[in-house]
């Protein structure tokens, strides 16, 4: 029945290509599979071979150890999970060591990669044939190239610091060993995600990351909020995952492979139809939105702060949520080709920036503010990568810089929360800077980095993105640029608010009485990582951006950025504007929260509603802030929260409840009566016979 596929639809050129790539241990999937000659794949079979096939270099020498990157943390996780209580005493050390070892391997590989010529910097390691269904090959292989290299360093580097920090943070938690096991598992999954050499391996990592994130959010499962948050994260991520899965299916259906080089090569060579390409891109985007907490799937991220703070730093700031950006960057040839999808990406990025900022202004919970800040910063990254070749590298640069300062901020907040006996309400902080100097300094550096104070890292990366947004040109360019600017201003406002409420002003807590607090500096094991991250927050941005280091480094993967294009506004003007806006935001917050006293308790809703009364009393700049940002912000927040709960959550829950209800109702048809069963069978028989007679005549 079947005809051997190579006989029918593969030409000799293709065979040559296959041989070449096979020699470099990357096998392209033979295209089609079946005897059905009208299958959609054959349509693309011919052009596929002429796509830009840059075979990856085979892993040799040091690179044959690429798999160690994955296996080290995985082994750590397995030992800790299977070892049980026996490993309780030294489990955290093992976990940290596994992570550190992985980092070292990553460093070695990175320098080895740097040592190579620019064209040899994509090293693939073939592991084993994973799914060799007749004509369809998925080889589980690893790809260590410039893009994965920076991610590997970010993941293992920041990850190791957070491991160290957790030794202190989780010191008194009975489940510390399990916690480290999950963290190791997470690292392994994340590494699998960024190291895979095809979309299916990426998908496997993607799902495993989701699982470990679920486990970690749920770590304190006795807290109902944590359990709910974990479920919420899981559901919303599933929505995105469906998109990714469909995208992969679609790729396979059109290209006949899921390998990066085949798919992206086909995309770059204009082989895939525009509509299909756009569909793939949009589905990928849906996946990315789910994982990265982008509009409209952002609601799970703040809730996920119910997990332990190191997790918030590791997963929900530095690594996992950036997986979406990685996905888009990885699939950049696809996005480059489809203007429509990129437009959607920038719109989502811009909308998310605003949403994140505005909501960030309204919360009093320190971690939630940081969470929405993350949402908004990832919005910047999306905006950047949505701009096309001009922005891919900028997005990645901001991602890396953000990884440093946001992780530092989270760890700092963890330190504060720890010191304040798990109090997370900023209104109950104040004046902590004297008591926690190290935290103050490290947190402060991270804070300055995020608001974009030159020459800290946030300044370089964010400024470039805003510039690129303006450079897009036309009305849309202005719109995007202004949105990004506005975002920068609000960011400065709410981050200043956070910083001042926490460390400055009067102490809104008491050191005596029933709810006495005795804030103290955290142990070195916690402050050490914070200090290192602070160093990163200071220097990373400049390192990446000045002289286009990172852009050049990533150019082979992401394509050349067009630096020389005409500027809408000159870079100096943009920089000045950005600084001005940020300064405005800072000033607003300073006046409102430093000059004026802060209520230890947020005002009840009934008072907040009286806009005129408030306006009469606040005629100064903070009034402006309040009316322009905070009040609409609060309304918008409420609206968004409402939208969240009624709209998105409602949709998710509604679907779940709908299926559950359907299930409950359908269940009743299983009455237990033989005669009812026979009735359904006869009914089915009638249907089948009717259908058979219909197809006969039809």
């Amino acid at each position: 029945m079947a005809v051997h596929p190579t006989a029918t639809c593969q030409t000799s050129t293709f065979l040559v290509a296959t041989c070449l790539t096979a020699a470099s241990s990357m096998s392209i999937s033979p295209l089609t599979t079946s005897s059905v000659t009208t299958s959609p794949m054959t349509r693309y079979a011919m052009p596929h071979e002429v796509g830009h096939e840059v075979g990856y270099a085979a892993a040799s020498g040091v690179f044959s150890a690429t798999w160690l990157l994955l296996v080290l943390p995985l082994a750590g996780a397995l030992i800790l999970l299977l070892g049980g209580r026996r490993t309780d005493r030294w489990g955290h050390l093992l976990g940290t060591a596994a992570s550190a070892a992985s980092f070292v391997v990553g460093l070695v590989l990175f320098f080895e990669l740097r040592g190579r010529g620019a064209e040899d910097r994509q090293v693939a390691q073939h592991l084993f044939s994973w799914i060799p269904v007749n004509g369809f090959q998925v080889d589980a292989g690893l790809l260590f190239d410039q893009l994965s290299a920076v991610f590997v360093l970010l993941i293992t580097g920041v990850g190791t610091l957070i491991h160290v920090y957790s030794i202190g943070y989780m010191a008194h938690d009975p489940g510390r060993r399990r916690f480290f096991a999950y963290m190791n598992l997470f690292l392994a999954s994340m590494l699998l995600l960024v190291l895979g050499d095809n979309f299916l391996v990426l998908y496997a990592g993607w799902e495993l990351v989701g699982l470990s994130s679920f486990l970690l959010i749920k770590f304190w499962e006795y807290k109902p909020a944590a359990a709910t948050a974990a479920n919420k994260a899981f559901y919303m991520n599933r929505v995105g995952d469906v998109g990714l899965a469909l995208a992969i299916m679609l790729m396979f259906a059109t290209v006949g492979s899921t390998n990066y080089d085949s798919v992206l090569g086909a995309a770059a060579a204009d082989i895939i139809g525009y509509g299909t390409l756009t569909a793939i891109a949009l589905l990928l985007l849906l996946g990315a939105c789910g994982k990265s907490g982008q509009f409209p799937l952002q609601a799970w991220l703040p809730d996920a702060m119910e997990g332990p703070t190191p997790i918030s730093a590791l997963i929900h700031a530095a690594t996992m949520v950036t997986a979406g950006v990685y996905l888009i960057a990885r699939a950049s040839p696809i996005f480059t080709e489809t203007q429509a999808a990129r437009t959607v990406v920038v719109i989502i990025g811009a909308v998310t920036i605003v949403i994140g900022c505005v909501i960030g202004c309204a919360y009093d919970d320190i971690k939630k503010v940081l969470a929405y800040s993350t949402v908004s910063q990832i919005g910047y990254m999306f905006l950047a990568v949505g701009l096309g070749p001009a922005g891919y590298a900028l997005g990645i640069a901001h991602l890396l810089a953000h990884g440093f300062f946001k992780a530092g901020l989270f760890l700092g907040s963890g330190s504060v929360i720890h010191a304040m006996d798990d109090e997370q309400d900023m209104r109950k902080y104040g004046g902590l800077w004297r008591l926690m100097p190290v935290t103050w300094v490290t947190f402060g550096l991270g804070y300055l980095a995020i608001i974009g104070l030159p020459p800290l890292s946030g300044f370089f990366t964010k400024d470039k993105i805003i510039e690129a947004a303006f450079d897009k040109g036309g009305t849309s360019g202005y719109l995007l640029g202004l949105t990004a600017l506005l975002g920068a201003g609000i960011t400065a406002f709410y981050m200043t608010r956070l910083f001042l409420l926490t460390f400055h002003g009067e102490r809104r807590w008491s050191s005596s009485g029933e709810r006495a607090k005795h804030p103290h500096e955290s142990p070195t094991v916690m402050t050490g990582p914070m200090a290192l991250l602070a160093v990163g927050s200071v220097f990373a941005g400049g390192l990446f951006i000045v002289g286009g280091t990172l852009q050049d480094w990533l150019a082979p993967v992401l394509g050349e950025s067009h630096e020389e294009g005409a500027h809408t506004l000159s870079p100096a003007v943009v920089t000045a504007l950005t600084l001005l806006v940020a300064a405005g935001g800072f000033a607003g917050a300073y006046l409102r929260y430093q000059v004026r006293p802060v209520e230890a308790v947020a005002r009840p809703d009934s008072e907040v509603g009286l806009v005129t009364v408030a306006a009469r009393h606040d005629l100064y700049a903070n009034t402006f802030n309040e009316t322009v940002f905070m009040r609409p912000g609060q309304y918008l927040t409420r609206f968004l929260v409402w939208l969240d709960t009624v709209g998105v959550d409602g949709l998710v829950r509604g679907t779940a409840a709908g299926i559950g209800g359907l299930s409950g109702r359908l269940r009743r048809t299983q009455t237990g009566f033989v005669r009812s069963y026979a009735l359904s069978m006869l009914g089915g028989a009638v249907l089948v016979v009717v259908a058979a007679l219909l197809v006969r005549t039809g």
Partner: protein, 99 residues
């Protein structure tokens, strides 16, 4: 008369049997209805044997009878076991497994 009329008769008998399975509560009667369905199939086979002019249909009807005999033994044994337990041969009474 066309010999195919037997086929229509068989179709009617088959349907009556099928409906009987749906309507009757006594397990033994339900089983008798199934037997009626098998016999309707047999009549169809014999008629087709004649229409096709080959004896294969008759052979198959014969096999159906043999199979039915074995099936009856097992079936009645199962029904009797249930009857001994519950003192009832109603199929509606065996209703613990549901939903």
């Amino acid at each position: 008369m066309n010999p195919s009329n037997y086929l229509i008769l068989a179709a009617l008998l088959f349907t009556i049997g099928a409906v009987g399975v749906l309507l009757r509560r006594n397990a033994i009667v339900v089983f008798m209805c199934v037997e009626l369905m098998l016999n309707a199939a047999n009549l169809t086979l014999v008629t087709f044997s004649r229409i096709n002019g080959t004896l294969d249909g008759q052979i198959m009807a014969f096999f159906v009878m043999v199979v039915a005999a074995a099936e009856v033994v097992i079936g009645l044994a199962i029904i009797l076991t249930i009857f001994r337990t519950r003192r009832s041969a109603s199929v509606d009474d065996v209703n613990l497994l549901k939903y």
